[in-house]
């Protein structure tokens, strides 16, 4: 009988009871006594000089509390970038000031140009319409190649150009790399675009700043994936406030996907304005604002080349990418196209020479930063597309070509700085072939052709670096923060447990999975354990949730803290049973003395810790509460293989996904049901990128797809029923649970499978199409077929 509790069981998500019955407590549900509302007036042009702003008429409008412009923030810091990349010549990245409110220059549509605080939101909006501007329009810089031209208009006048950095990674010796290509039996080249995306979590961003004159303390309620990071960045770099006077609370958060990692201007504004106005200040983003103010994702333009020898072994890989930074550097922006992308370019393959070149570029567009997968989808997409193209050019079977080049011995040191600790790519490919029913494809294709449809099969592998990250390594690579996490296990006198964690749940199900681990370690019922998260006033300093790190890093901290609890509890139990603590065993919530029938229950030990009448007070402190910080020794490396089957309607170009199969190796798994859900969600987002989503700008820097009328989010009927398998498990070798993380895999691994399948379908219909840029909309597929 399957376990219904503990590690490996699939209890239902306990948090869903409140989410599904309308009892969630999201930031917009919070209202502070006396709060005012802010409306941000946002730029509707992409690039302009602000000559003057006249707020005098607006200030006289009913209900207006105060109007802020860029001048009000001249004395505070700009929004910081959390990662400094060093370029190929040893120079630091170009890093412009990122103001809270545009001061002299507007640099993207959606940038804040003024903020009106009023008694009601409608009054704030009315007043904002009365603000008068004098602007001088400047040419918008949108296209990355044009932005890098000698005579390009500069997004930032004080920088030398629109180039943020020019970075090389892997083998830096151009001649040696070229020699490998010159001696290759075959070279496959592919130019492609990784399309810009808008995260669009269901809950838009919200911030409420509050200030207490009595205690000189600030509280910021915000929709964040990492409240401690927000507090640190805002206090230390922007507002110059002492951290102990600032509390950041991120309660229930309705999805993040990366877009709620970053410190945003609106958070600093509301905190600052609360003191300046003497009232709490609330902002709730509209969906329209979200499109032009939430950091976007992806937006790479890449040329990739793969060299093979006469036996189809990969001998060298070279990529050249331009990555869009937008107008300013968002929190983790510069790490995404560099260390989260270049380090994954080896993929699952033993290619001996890999060179990654990346130019990051400023443009008059919304800042670009991490989005589910962050750099790893961009790496996986180009690598798995070029391998597929090579297989077609060589007449090789795409599965066999991959298998032949798999890394099979671990640990494996890649040419791009990572050491994969464990994995079994042959096993996941074997499993995938079975789950995807590769053998039955020919019959399914024949059936589709009978109905006038083209059917295609696409496959790819992926590997990602998760469990971010060893602090010393990321420090060397330019991170301006550590990436450990923390947990405090607080045992109450009656034996129930609160675990305060630095990770933040915004859809991942931590409130269910984290207690499974602690309860399993002690042998008590899961209902005795709760987690607390999302409040710097209640949890230890943790770095939050992104990069599939929660269970691998914060979960490890929780295990370490629980181990400390158990060690101390054993000493108390030993005292109670007059035995040596070395002889104490803990099982099913009972402490026993080895070789005897003596026992004492978990609850009795906990009570003794807090009512220490019979207690070794001279040797042991009373109480039962322990904290651990955990800094991982390495990244974790989830990996797997995905297969997609599509039908293409040759008359319209419409693609429908008929099957999607995933074989993932996530190491050990805490809750298989939740892992299924994470994979399903990731696949949905990857399919969205592949077929539907596109944040498109026109040449004036206007976002063309700035609402759901034009930005195509995947809907339920756009995705198939998935075949998901995670029975291949090579446990992580360096964390206590042997876990790897599963949050991003689906989004990383699915786009190339979809595109490979569509190309396969078109070629089966006699169309000589070798590539189509995402999204593979009906119009694009039809154009490619009829090009």
């Amino acid at each position: 009988m399957p376990k219904d509790q503990g590690i490996g069981a699939s209890p239902k998500r306990r948090e869903d009871v409140r989410f599904l019955t309308g009892a969630g407590n999201y930031t917009d549900d919070i209202n502070v006594n006396g709060q005012a509302y802010v409306h941000f007036l946002r730029a509707d042009v992409a690039h302009a000089t602000i000559n003057s702003i006249d707020t005098s008429a607006a200030a006289e409008m009913p209900g207006v509390v105060k109007i802020f412009t860029g001048a009000d923030f001249a004395e505070v810091g700009g929004i910081p970038c959390g990662w400094g990349v060093t370029d190929r010549h040893g120079n630091p990245q170009q890093e412009p000031r990122h103001p809270i409110i545009a001061h002299d220059t507007i640099r993207h549509v959606g940038e804040i140009v003024a903020a009106v605080v009023a008694d009601t939101l409608e009054q704030a909006r009315d007043a904002a319409e009365a603000i008068e501007f004098s602007l001088s329009d400047k040419p918008a810089v949108v296209d990355m190649a044009a932005a890098l031209a000698e005579d390009a208009t500069k997004v930032h006048e004080d920088l030398t150009s629109n180039l943020c950095y020019d970075w090389v990674f892997g083998n830096p010796d151009d001649d040696a790399v070229q020699a490998a290509f010159d001696s290759a039996a075959h070279v496959t080249t592919l130019e492609l675009v990784n399309n810009r995306l808008v995260a669009n979590p269901m809950e838009p961003r919200v911030a409420i700043g509050d200030y207490s004159r009595a205690t000189d303390e600030y509280t910021l309620h915000t929709t964040s994936q990492n409240p401690h990071v927000i507090r640190l960045l805002m206090c230390a770099f922007v507002l110059g406030l002492p951290e102990h006077k600032v509390r950041v609370i991120a309660p229930d958060v309705g999805g993040g996907f990366g877009s709620k990692i970053f410190h945003y201007a609106e958070e600093a504004f509301c905190t600052f304005a609360a003191k300046a106005c003497g009232r709490a200040v609330k902002w709730t983003s509209t969906r329209a604002e979200a499109f032009i103010s939430d950091a976007h994702g992806r937006d790479h333009v890449t040329k990739i080349e793969l060299a093979l020898d006469g036996d189809n072994n990969f001998t060298a890989l070279r990529t050249n990418t331009m990555a869009n930074m937008g107008a300013y550097l968002s929190t983790f922006s510069t790490s995404v196209p560099s260390y989260l992308h270049g380090t994954l370019m080896a993929g699952n393959y033993k290619t001996p020479i890999v060179q990654v070149n990346v130019k990051t570029v400023f443009t008059n567009t919304v800042p670009v930063d991490a989005y589910r997968g962050a750099g790893r989808p961009e790496a996986t997409f180009q690598l798995e597309r070029v391998i597929d193209k090579a297989a077609r050019e060589l007449g090789a079977d795409p599965i066999a070509l991959r298998r032949q080049n798999f890394i099979t011995e671990f640990p494996y040191e890649t040419p791009v700085a990572l050491t994969y600790d464990t994995g079994d790519y042959v096993a996941t490919m074997d499993k995938l072939e079975q789950v995807a029913d590769v053998a039955g494809f020919a019959a399914r294709r024949a059936e589709s052709e009978k109905n006038g449809k083209l059917r295609g099969f696409g496959i790819n592998c992926y590997i990602e670096a998760c469990g971010i990250a060893p602090s010393n390594i990321v420090g060397m690579l330019g991170a301006r923060a550590g990436l450990y996490d923390a947990a405090t296990v607080r045992v109450n006198a009656t034996g129930s447990i609160s675990v305060m964690v630095g990770a933040h749940a915004h859809g991942q199900g931590h409130e269910t999975t984290f207690p499974q681990v602690v309860a399993d370690m002690i042998g008590i019922d899961e209902s005795m354990v709760d987690i607390v998260h999302g409040d710097t006033g209640r949890v230890p300093f943790g770095m939050g949730t992104y990069g599939s790190r929660s269970i691998a890093v914060c979960g490890s901290a929780m295990v370490r803290a629980t181990e400390k609890i158990i060690a101390k509890a054993k000493k108390i139990a030993a005292h109670l049973m007059e035995a040596s603590d070395a002889d104490i065993e803990l099982k099913d919530g009972q402490f026993t003395v080895a070789g005897t029938d003596k026992s004492v229950a978990w609850g009795d030990v906990c009570l003794t810790a807090y009512v220490p009448h019979n207690y070794p007070l001279e040797e042991l402190e009373p109480g039962l509460e322990e904290t651990a910080f955990y800094d991982p020794a390495n990244f974790t490396y989830p990996a797997g293989a995905y297969a997609c089957e599509v039908e293409v309607d040759p008359d319209t170009g419409k693609v429908s996904i008929e099957r999607f199969s995933a074989a993932d190796d996530f190491g050990n798994i805490i809750n298989p049901m939740i892992v299924d859900g994470q994979v399903h969600g990731g696949l949905g987002q990857g399919i969205g990128q592949a077929l539907l989503e596109n944040a498109a700008y026109d040449e004036d820097g206007q976002l063309l797809s700035a609402s759901f009328m034009d930005y195509a989010m995947p809907r339920a009927d756009d995705v198939p029923f998935y075949q998901v398998d995670h029975s291949c498990q090579t446990p992580c070798t360096h964390n206590p649970l042997g876990v790897k993380g599963c949050g991003e895999a689906g989004a990383i691994g699915s786009p190339p499978a979809v595109v490979n399948a569509v190309i396969d379908a078109l070629q089966s219909g006699g169309k000589n199409v070798t590539h189509i840029d995402m999204p593979l909309s009906p119009a694009r597929v039809w154009a490619a077929m009829n090009g």
């Binding site: 909006r125 319409e129 329209a288 008359d651 319209t652 170009g653 419409k654 077929l691 539907l692 596109n694 498109a696 063309l704 797809s705 759901f708 009328m709 034009d710 930005y711 195509a712 989010m713 909309s777 009906p778 119009a779 039809w782 154009a783």
Partner: protein
């Protein structure tokens, strides 16, 4: 949204009187107007709701002529016309999503005349008559371009009269984001001839594809349309499809509609 007055009359006469005020605007199901107001893109002095007027909620099937009140919702049409005019019911049943279909009205849709809306194709493809508080307007004269109709200021669509065809079908190719019609083609075969109306495609809004009508008059079969095409020149080209793509889809959807009409 900006402030406005609100009235909810119970007769057409009261509604017409209420709409006489400067900048007063009629409100049907609000599926276009309310989002427009929320974005502060319109500033009516007054909204006059048409949804509490019993006359506008009437729906009758008079043996070959289906009359639908201006304030009848898409969901109501989908149910009530299922037997008498299944192609129209099917079209109504696939507009937007359930929330839209339970609020949006036929009069509102036709008065707005969005170039990607479905109902204009049905009305023009059926040769329907738009009945207002003052006159009857043949659909061939009613649609006058993007968001433009023959309606005068303050004129209210009280009903739409659809002659029921021998056979008909509507094929919609969805714009991937909005799921409005990227191209929608309504084909209806009457004793007097075939009508083919196209929505979503043209820069001029809904239009009749007369070449296809003539071909289908001669032979009501998909292959009768072989070799026919609309000129890409007047088509809409945007993020979701080029002019050429839309022109191509008109042919594909027309054939499919003929095939499905049987």
């Amino acid at each position: 949204m900006y402030e406005f007055e609100f009235e909810k009359p119970s007769t057409v006469a009261e509604a017409v009187a209420a709409l006489a005020d400067e900048d007063a605007q009629a409100l049907g199901g609000g599926q276009t107007l309310i989002p427009t107001l929320k974005q502060r893109l319109a500033m009516p002095s007054k909204l006059v709701s048409l949804t509490a007027i019993p006359q506008l909620k009437e729906l009758s099937d008079n043996g070959g002529m289906l009359t639908i009140g201006g304030a009848v919702t898409h969901a109501e049409v989908a149910e009530a016309a299922a037997a008498s005019y299944p192609a129209l019911a099917d079209l109504a049943g696939h507009i937007g999503d359930p929330a839209v279909r339970n609020r949006g009205t036929i009069g509102g849709s036709l008065a707005n005349n969005d170039p990607a809306a479905c109902y204009p194709a049905a009305a023009l493809g059926s040769g329907a008559t738009i009945v207002t508080n003052t006159r009857e307007i043949p659909s061939d004269e009613y649609f006058q371009g993007l968001f433009d109709t023959a309606l005068n200021e303050g004129e209210i669509i009280t009903a739409v009269r659809f002659p029921v065809p021998e056979k008909a079908n509507y094929q919609k190719f969805l714009q991937p984001a909005s799921r409005f019609a990227l191209v929608g083609v309504f084909v209806a075969k009457y004793a007097a001839g075939v009508r083919v109306a196209v929505t979503g495609a043209s820069e001029e809004g809904v239009f009749r594809w007369r070449e296809a009508e003539a071909a289908l008059d001669a032979s009501f079969a998909p292959d009768a349309l072989d070799g026919l095409s609309v000129d890409a020149g007047g088509m809409i080209g945007d993020l979701h499809g080029s002019k050429e793509y839309r022109a191509h889809l008109v042919g594909v959807m027309a054939k499919r509609a003929v095939a499905a009409a049987g």
